[in-house]
Symmetry: C2
Subunit: 276 residues, 2 copies
């Protein structure tokens, strides 16, 4: 059997599974790590989740997700900070250093993109030392510009690094998610620049025609246009040796038998991500 | 009546009109320029089009479009070069200096994005002197990363300028299209860098939720998230004084009465593009 030791299932890929079901599914598939989402975590509670994950012998590759730091209303912004501090504590309790940060889109009715980006920067300033105190790294996730308006105003790895580099690497890093960054003409130089700050490497494909619901537009590796092996070479050259997490938002993948999805995911991982 | 002298109708906004109908529509609406597409131009022929446009007293703000320079097959690539030379001649005959270049996506089955970008660069090298000989500027259009795979591998203004700056400004410029560039964290610095090379300033809005057909995802100015006045300030600071072209691909806009679309377009132009 080829080496699957770095392959991690991000829970979102098997969206209909509860966290206990996803843990069992990872064990059946011979995987050793899982990326956990906070909503299914809350359904069973942190202590139960921790016990199940430990009993299964799994690592937690990341916790998804903190962020949403663009509110203009002060009390909303403060509530977001408080929620992120909870997320930091959950990540620490689960034994992962990686808290994925989806920073949030433009507030309702706002067209002030530079202002939204400035608030993200302010929020990270408040959260970075808290993360450091808990041994957690805030993993800033630049998102594909298809999501700039409504999900994540950080659009490029360079922009995420501009913020991250203001803090010690153990406090603030970045996510390199192939889907979000594959189009970037500065990809090569910015991944190199990210050396020492890559919190997570995630993979899923850009498929065309784009599905009707843009949120569910991600495809299984190999079904689209991304050269994953090139991306793996880039993060490897930047010193990244951590987990490779598969996170797929896609209605067809979600409708399929989750065990079959894991089987396909393993094969594609071997064929087009780590394969030569 | 407020000043509409810089407002141009890109034909695509009234997609169901033939070129003669669009010319008449512009005259009824009191506009003084039009952005012409090659397909409707071919329907009536260059000489007829030129006569109708001149008789109407209109300027041609741009010809759309050249490009599609990413083919890996040599004969296909050569055919694209030949077609672009025809487009350059058509632009010159219509009296516009601006030939909009949609550079093309990844070839079928290819995942070699750097390779596709290199072919675009090779194609521009062959076309730039020809454009210069005809008094036409190749207007490289960076496209929103939603289109990197299937339409335009140039994703940022910075990347377009990296190519353009290898040539005299009168041969190669760039298009600043709000829809395509609004998300870019380097927008301000790259528009400033583009001073002297802005061939065209186009406007249409980024709307959410994104329509199901991503090709038709552009909205009327004011219906979405873009701060057009900020964009106008940026291109103005970079010395641009040319036409402001409205190019909207949207099923609802295309289904509406075109005269009504022009009326709305004029009002929105005054309210949210040049308005304070």
């Amino acid at each position: 059997m080829s080496d699957l030791s770095r392959l991690s299932l991000n829970q979102k890929t098997t969206n209909r599974w509860s966290l206990p079901e996803a843990i069992d599914g990872c064990v059946r598939a011979g995987l050793s790590s899982i990326g956990v989402w906070r909503e299914p975590l809350a359904e069973i509670g942190l202590d139960t989740a921790k016990r199940l994950i430990d009993d299964a012998g799994l690592r937690v590759s990341s916790l998804c997700r903190g962020g949403f730091l663009t509110a203009t209303d002060n009390s909303e912004f403060d509530a977001a900070i408080a929620d992120n501090i909870e997320a930091i504590k959950e990540a620490a309790a689960l034994g992962t250093t990686c808290l994925v940060m989806v920073v949030g889109g433009l507030p309702e009715g706002s067209r002030d993109l530079p202002g939204a980006r400035a608030r993200v920067s302010d929020g990270i300033a408040r959260l970075a030392p808290v993360a450091g105190d808990h041994g957690v790294q805030l993993a800033l996730e630049p998102m594909h510009p298809i999501f700039t308006a409504d999900r994540g105003v950080l659009a490029t790895l360079g922009e995420a690094l501009d913020i991250a580099e203001q803090y010690p690497a153990e406090q603030v890093g970045v996510v390199v998610d192939s889907f979000h960054v594959w189009w970037d003409p500065q990809l090569e130089s910015q991944v190199a620049r990210a050396a020492g700050r890559i919190s997570s490497f995630q993979v899923c494909d850009w498929i065309t025609p784009l599905p009707a619901d843009s949120l569910l537009s991600r495809g299984m590796m190999g079904d689209g246009h991304i050269d994953f092996r090139h991306h793996l070479d880039l993060v490897t050259a930047a010193g990244y040796t951590g987990d490779i997490e598969v996170e797929i938002f896609n209605a067809d993948v979600w409708a399929a038998d989750p065990d079959q999805v894991l089987a396909t995911m393993k094969q594609r991982y071997l064929d087009v991500v780590v394969g030569v």
